[in-house]
């Protein structure tokens, strides 16, 4: 055993610090650790600052002040009482004294004033007599902290205008369709378009992605055809090779820029398959023909875009199911499909769903491919079917930010808030769903 003594010379094995040196060594190592901890903290704080700046920017634009100029002051019409408190007769009287007879006659011809509700009359008074007009837009910070400056400015340009608080994000903003007048414009069409696109993309990409992931994870090494026949061998070989090709390239596919998927979608779904994506094959004729630039085309393109990510995350979820579960199932005489369907999939489902929802929520923020396949940026009609023209939130926001008027910048910010709320609620849904499935799996 004593090979050591056979060695002619003993080599030095260095020295470990002792006593004071050891203490110093420890404190210097601890110091180094503290420095790194500080750097990591700085990184985190940097991230938080960026987030806060983003939030500040959006809120600053989405809320704020407006300079409003009225053709007639409300107090002058009603002797100081608010319009809402007036009776119907009084409202009609205001209309009759302030409107020109031709306008009045037109209104009467549409529907007699006496038959209209008070709300309707108030709207008419607002639109036709008071005529509020936004002449200036101020951000929230200006409105709150720079009041004297902006008031002086406004008095110079529009002496009769007043500064009011305005929340561009409002219920009206959410439920009214697009308009060329930024004060009246809403985001309803875009919300509906996004929701349509979202569901359809999920419907297409989930089964395809999970199916491919199951094959790649569980069946890749299987030989479905008879090995004893040359044709069967050839088929098995072809299947295994293509599965290998997909497997190795799937990460590359998930990294392909989204605009390239847009070009692909334009060539295939919008152009080549126009008869299908415009609904013509199903006898669906849209009078405002979308020529293949429909929600269906967009959803198919988006599905292509998210499919690699759905496959990868599903594969990871399937891989995370312990092999011991599969073995237990096989050991009881289960077939491969029974094992996949009854053991692997239920256990992988929380992970699959989280991955899918997250990747799809990523996709609803995509703009580039939709521009390429020709989504509309200005439509006022709601999407009604798969074959409708449509717009989506990011596209609408993009459209608004590219306009010169400051009002559009404000509603773009409000639109961003809507988009963020939608995204966050989707992600929250993913987390809740995962937790629910997990708890169900363990406690029952």
């Amino acid at each position: 055993m004593s090979t050591e003594s056979l060695r002619p010379e003993r080599q030095s094995i260095g020295s470990l610090p002792e006593g004071e040196a050891a203490r110093q060594n420890v404190s210097s190592r601890q110091r180094r650790g503290k420095i790194w901890q500080g750097i990591l903290l700085a990184c985190t704080i940097f991230g938080i600052i960026i987030l806060l700046m983003l939030a500040y920017n959006i809120v600053n634009d989405a809320f704020g002040g407006i300079g409003v100029q009225y053709a007639v002051e409300e107090e002058d019409l009603t002797d100081g009482r608010p319009l809402e408190e007036l009776s119907q007769a009084e409202l009609i009287a205001i209309l009759e004294t302030n409107l020109r007879s031709r306008v009045l006659k037109n209104l009467e011809r549409e529907r007699p004033l006496a038959e209209r509700s008070r709300e309707e009359l108030i709207d008419i008074i607002n639109d036709e007599i008071i005529k509020p007009e936004v002449v200036a837009v101020y951000s929230l910070s200006e409105f709150l902290f720079d009041r004297p400056t902006i008031e002086a400015e406004l008095r110079k340009s529009h002496p009769r205008a007043e500064i009011e608080f305005k929340s561009w994000l409002s219920w009206d903003f959410i439920v009214t369709p697009m308009s060329s007048n930024p004060v009246e414009a809403g985001i309803r069409t875009a919300i509906l378009g996004t929701l349509y696109l979202l569901w359809l993309t999920m419907l297409i990409s989930f089964p395809l992605g999970v199916g491919a992931a199951i094959y790649l994870e569980e069946y890749k090494n299987d030989k479905p055809f008879d090995e004893r026949i040359p044709a069967g061998r050839w088929m098995n070989n072809a299947i295994q090779r293509s599965a290998g090709l997909i497997e190795t390239n799937i990460y590359n596919l998930s990294g392909v820029p989204s605009i390239i998927y847009g070009i692909l979608g334009l060539a295939i779904f919008v152009r080549a398959l126009e008869q299908f994506t415009s609904g013509a094959v199903f006898g669906y004729a849209d009078p405002t023909t979308a020529n293949g630039r429909t929600i269906l085309s967009a959803a198919l393109t988006m599905s292509l875009l998210v499919l690699p990510v759905v496959i990868i995350s599903s594969q990871e979820a399937i891989r995370a199911v312990p092999g011991s579960m599969r073995q237990a199932s096989y050991g009881l005489g289960a077939t491969k499909w029974q094992t996949v369907w009854k053991i692997v999939l239920p256990n992988a489902m929380p992970g699959i769903l989280t991955g899918t929802i997250l990747s799809i929520s990523r996709a609803i923020g995509e703009t580039a491919p939709l521009i390429v396949i020709g989504a509309s940026t200005f439509i006022v009609t709601d999407p009604t079917s798969l074959f409708s023209k449509f717009t989506v939130l990011p596209l609408q926001i993009y459209n608004w930010t590219s306009r010169p008027q400051p009002e559009f910048r404000a509603i773009a910010a409000a639109g961003i808030i809507v988009l963020l709320v939608l995204l966050l609620s989707l992600n929250a849904a993913a987390i809740l769903l995962r937790n629910y499935l997990r708890s169900k799996r363990v406690s029952t």
Partner: protein, 266 residues
Amino acid sequence: MSTTTMNDSKYAIETRAMNIYYGAFRAVKDVTFSIERNKITALIGPSGCGKSTVLRSFNRMNDLIPGARTEGEVLYHGQNLYDPDVDAVQVRRQIGMVFQKPNPFPKSIYDNIAYGPRINGWKGTRAEMDELVERALVGAALWDEVKDKLNQSGLSLSGGQQQRLCIARAIAVQPEVILMDEPCSALDPISTLKIEELMLELRQRYTIVIVTHNMQQAARVSDYTAFFLMDKEDRAGELVEYDVTSKVFQNPADKRTEEYVSGRFG
């Protein structure tokens, strides 16, 4: 696979010149031995000697490992399990398995037991399934501990209970042979004792083959013992000695067996 071809009713499983390969590597060479019915046969040996590989070849679990290949014959009721027209799925229903680490499904205790019969085409009423589940749990000596919480997750049980649940799950499909791959290595001594008692009971109805690292366990429960060892030259596991347990432990024929069972190596 029919039970009518019982040409030799004394043995449940016989292997003839069995070689098992992982790719080009021969893991087990030239194993020929016969496992008697309604007896407990222990496979012992140091790590890497191929005993688990041999055990897993009895119900074709090695098929699940890519590149694994078995040569020679494994006869079950005179039928070679590795014949091309034998379906591994059918083999595994008749030759069940209990694994090293307790691996209940993340389902309820009830569903853990019911899973096997259901996937094997079981037909019957809900009451009959209740009866089947109860019998399996009674058979695995677990019924009294879980009868009030059949709807709780199988994972909520202790390690020893989980392992007995896995045994109950295995006997619910009414196999003839139960293979146990180090079933107690993850358990404490008291749970181990319970499983050992259970094995002695199960012997009356099932043939049990157990792989164990614990030689006391082999000596305590088994009727026959097979000692495997890795050949130093080609690193393939081979069967060194196979005999009645008392003989292997007290009067082994091979010197290597004697060294191993007396604790001089391994």
